[in-house]
């Protein structure tokens, strides 16, 4: 893993201080803070209107904190809106997709980086085609196939396509990490009499922990947020994005419960992010640098 250097301003402050015009510096800060507000305000607004009644949202108190904290909006989002069910559906699909993607991509990468055979480079390029293929391109054939196999409205109907579409990125990330594991490890394992499979599962997989985080996050974001497939393949087992769409159809004029649903769909991810932000950013960076 290419370690990203922790640069601190004082590292080269001797040079920068005299080079940077203080006015420019202030300007840069103003810009950064402004952009931070642009990013934070919608989230703040969403949270506050999820606790208000229409009267406050529509005029009395547009941007301030709610006067009466209406937690009942959450009750109706959970009960009438079935947000809890959608949440569980999304979790089941995301977890299964991540597990499948991890296992499959590690196996494929292992075959392409550590087993010696002709054509492994070509095979890698073949998989990389997947990076540019838009997920929509396959919607009709997959839809027809799923309906022929009576698999519409099942968890598999989303898990399998999501795994397939996450594969290219996962292999890309995996290749970077696996290249860095010394080849000696395999060789000493072979000498000890370990077969390829045991080497893979007992030696390589445990060393791939950092890749697991990166791939997991990439895959999670992709399937947690996907709308098009979820909307069409699974009308019964709604995921969060589809559920929110349906709910907003029910509550067009009552914004509070919609706000509550949006918060329910968003805040768990954001909370995890706040605690793990450095980890998640590093994962992304690592993934990008490998690419």
């Amino acid at each position: 893993m290419a370690k990203t250097r922790e640069l601190k301003p004082e590292d080269f402050s001797t040079y920068t201080v005299k080079k940077t015009n203080p006015a420019l510096r202030v300007l840069a800060y103003i810009g950064l803070v402004f952009w931070a507000l642009v990013n934070l305000f919608p989230i703040y607004w969403m949270f506050t209107f999820s606790l208000k009644n229409n009267e406050e949202i529509f005029g009395a108190n547009v941007a301030g904190l709610p006067q009466h904290w209406l937690w009942s909006n959450y009750t109706s989002a959970m009960k009438t809106g079935h947000m809890a069910t959608y949440f569980i559906n999304s979790i089941i699909i995301a977890v299964a997709t991540i597990l499948i993607t991890l296992l499959v991509s590690m196996m494929a990468t292992y075959a392409m980086t550590r087993l010696v055979w002709k054509g492994r480079k070509t095979m890698n390029k073949f998989f990389m085609l997947g990076l540019t293929i838009p997920i929509h391109a396959s919607i009709v054939p997959i839809y027809i196939q799923l309906s022929k196999m009576h698999m519409l409205n099942t968890y598999q109907a989303l898990i399998v396509p999501y795994s397939a579409f996450s594969l290219a990125m996962a292999i890309l990330i995996c290749t970077g990490f696996m290249d860095e594991i010394p080849k000696d490890i395999d060789e000493s394992a072979y000498i000890d009499g370990c077969g390829v499979w045991r080497t893979f599962f007992t030696m390589i997989v445990p060393l791939m922990k950092p890749a697991v985080a990166t791939i997991g996050i990439y895959t999670f974001l992709q399937c947690w947020n996907e709308l098009m497939f979820a909307n069409i393949f699974n009308t019964n087992l709604k995921t969060l994005p589809v559920g929110i769409q349906a709910l907003s159809g029910q509550y067009t004029t009552d914004w509070g419960p919609i706000g509550a649903a949006l918060v329910v769909a968003t805040f768990p991810t954001l909370l995890v992010y706040i605690f793990l932000s450095k980890r998640i950013q590093d994962s992304f960076i690592a993934g990008a640098v490998k690419g």
């Binding site: 009438t80 839809y143 027809i144 309906s147 022929k148 009576h150 519409l152 409205n153 909307n231 069409i232 009308t235 019964n236 349906a246 159809g249 029910q250 067009t252 004029t253």
Partner: protein, 446 residues
């Protein structure tokens, strides 16, 4: 070719339906207050008895769109309670899916031949596609039993090649809803009866700073509720019907000038300019909040309007006035039976399902009418006195009906309907005029 035959049949049914619907309210007075509770129990059990072997339950599954927020929810629940009670041998399960999602879901299920035994559908083209694919059970045999209560004319929209495939529930028309409180404030005691007076009224409203019409531009079908009424009252019901059913082309100067008339209303500022970005629910809420004087939409809204204690007393429903008296008359309406139940050809117990569907349809129609969700497609066997005044007013309008033209997007197949809606959108947005509308549709549909 097939389309042509179908079209002819539908047209025939439409012409018939005017007589049938006209007699509906009369029939309701003829029938004395029959036992409203479990009315048909005795006849049905005898029909059903052979199908049920002692103790063995038959599974029947139904999909519909009566979700908890749907105004038809109660009529489905009540009807299902009645009919399942009369059929102890049936193990009935049902599921309600939100309207938009349901369209995708039922199409997928038909494609995969995985429909439930009984399913909700819209009549005409929507059901027609399924019938063409051979996935719908023919109801001719079962219909024999119900002929006396369900007029043939009401079956027209779900009859293909002379065979019956659907059980109609309620029927609805487009109504001109008016907020009388607003009209009174500018000196009108009733909805103006002629087009000139109507326009004068709109001008007066505008002058008083009140928006005459609310219309949801985000949902094009709401625009068609206005546009189709204007076309019908300018060109006559027959012209519009022939075009919708593919018997005549769109290349019609009268239609073009009617579209221009509609666009004139838009350009005169009679419509809420914000409406173009709003959904129907939002516009409806605005109307109930007193933002608009008029709202043209389906009469299924009657229940919601009348049920609102504050708004109910203020609202009245009327027919859109005649624009060109040479071609159109009062009594030419937009609407007809569209909500339909059908039985899957793949159902293991199709015969039982068919009987069950007729009974269910009859009861849903009954409760739906009492709830004010629409007019009955079935001849009522009960006293309908307690029905809300709005629905009664609609029934009166229908009593004088001379012709019905089914909603354009229901009458046409999915592809044509969406082309049509896309042009309606452009008319509402003033991107094309009547000539452009007619030329485009002639070119794309015929």
């Amino acid at each position: 070719m097939k389309k042509k035959i179908l079209a002819t049949l539908l047209a025939g049914a439409m012409v018939l339906s005017l007589a049938a619907c006209g007699s509906t309210p009369a029939a309701s007075t003829e029938t004395p207050a029959a036992s409203t509770e479990a009315p048909a129990a005795s006849t049905e059990t005898s029909v059903e008895a052979p199908a049920a072997d002692a103790g063995e339950k038959v599974d029947l599954e139904m999909w519909c769109i009566a979700t908890e927020s749907d105004s038809n929810r109660h009529s489905y629940e009540a009807a299902i309670a009645d009919v399942t009670a009369a059929h102890p041998e049936v193990n009935f399960t049902w599921e309600a899916i939100e309207n938009q999602a349901y369209k995708t879901k039922i199409k997928a299920a038909v494609a995969a031949d995985e429909m439930p035994d009984i399913f909700f559908t819209w009549s005409c083209a929507f059901l027609g596609d399924f019938v063409d694919a051979g996935r719908v059970y023919c109801l001719d045999d079962a219909y024999e039993t119900w002929k006396s209560e369900l007029p043939e004319s009401m079956m027209g929209n779900s009859t293909y090649g002379g065979k019956h495939y659907g059980v109609p529930l309620t029927m609805n028309i487009v109504g001109l809803f008016a907020n009388m409180e607003i009209l009174k404030s500018i000196g009108y005691d009733a909805v103006p009866g002629t087009y000139e007076e109507f326009i004068a009224c709109c001008d007066a409203l505008k002058a008083a700073g009140i928006i005459p019409f609310g219309c949801a531009g985000k949902e094009t079908w709401c625009v068609t509720e206005y546009l189709e009424s204007v076309i019908e009252k300018s060109c006559g019901a027959d012209t519009l019907n022939d075009i919708f059913l593919g018997k005549a082309t769109w290349n019609n100067d009268d239609v073009a000038s009617a579209v221009d008339t509609f666009q004139g209303l838009v350009n005169n500022g009679y419509f809420d300019p914000e409406g173009i970005a709003l959904s129907n629910d939002e516009v409806k809420a605005n109307f109930m909040a007193g933002k608009y004087a008029f709202y043209m939409n389906g009469t299924w809204n009657c229940a919601d309007f009348a049920g609102n204690a504050e708004f109910g007393p203020k609202v009245q429903v009327a027919e859109f006035p005649v624009i060109n008296a040479d071609k159109a008359t009062l009594g030419q309406l937009i609407g007809g039976p569209s909500d339909t139940l059908a039985v899957a050809a793949s159902s293991k117990n199709a015969e039982l399902a068919a009987t069950f569907t007729f009974e269910l349809g009859r009861e849903i129609c009954h409760y739906g009418y009492l709830d004010g969700c629409g007019l009955p497609a079935w001849t009522p066997y009960y006293e309908a006195a307690g029905i809300n005044p709005l629905t009664q007013a609609v029934a009166e309008i229908c009593a004088n009906a001379k012709a019905y033209v089914l909603f354009g997007d229901t009458a046409m197949n999915a592809d044509s309907a969406n082309t049509y809606l896309s042009y309606v959108d452009q008319v509402y947005g003033c991107a094309i005029d009547g000539a452009g509308f007619v030329a485009g549709l002639t070119n794309d549909i015929g």
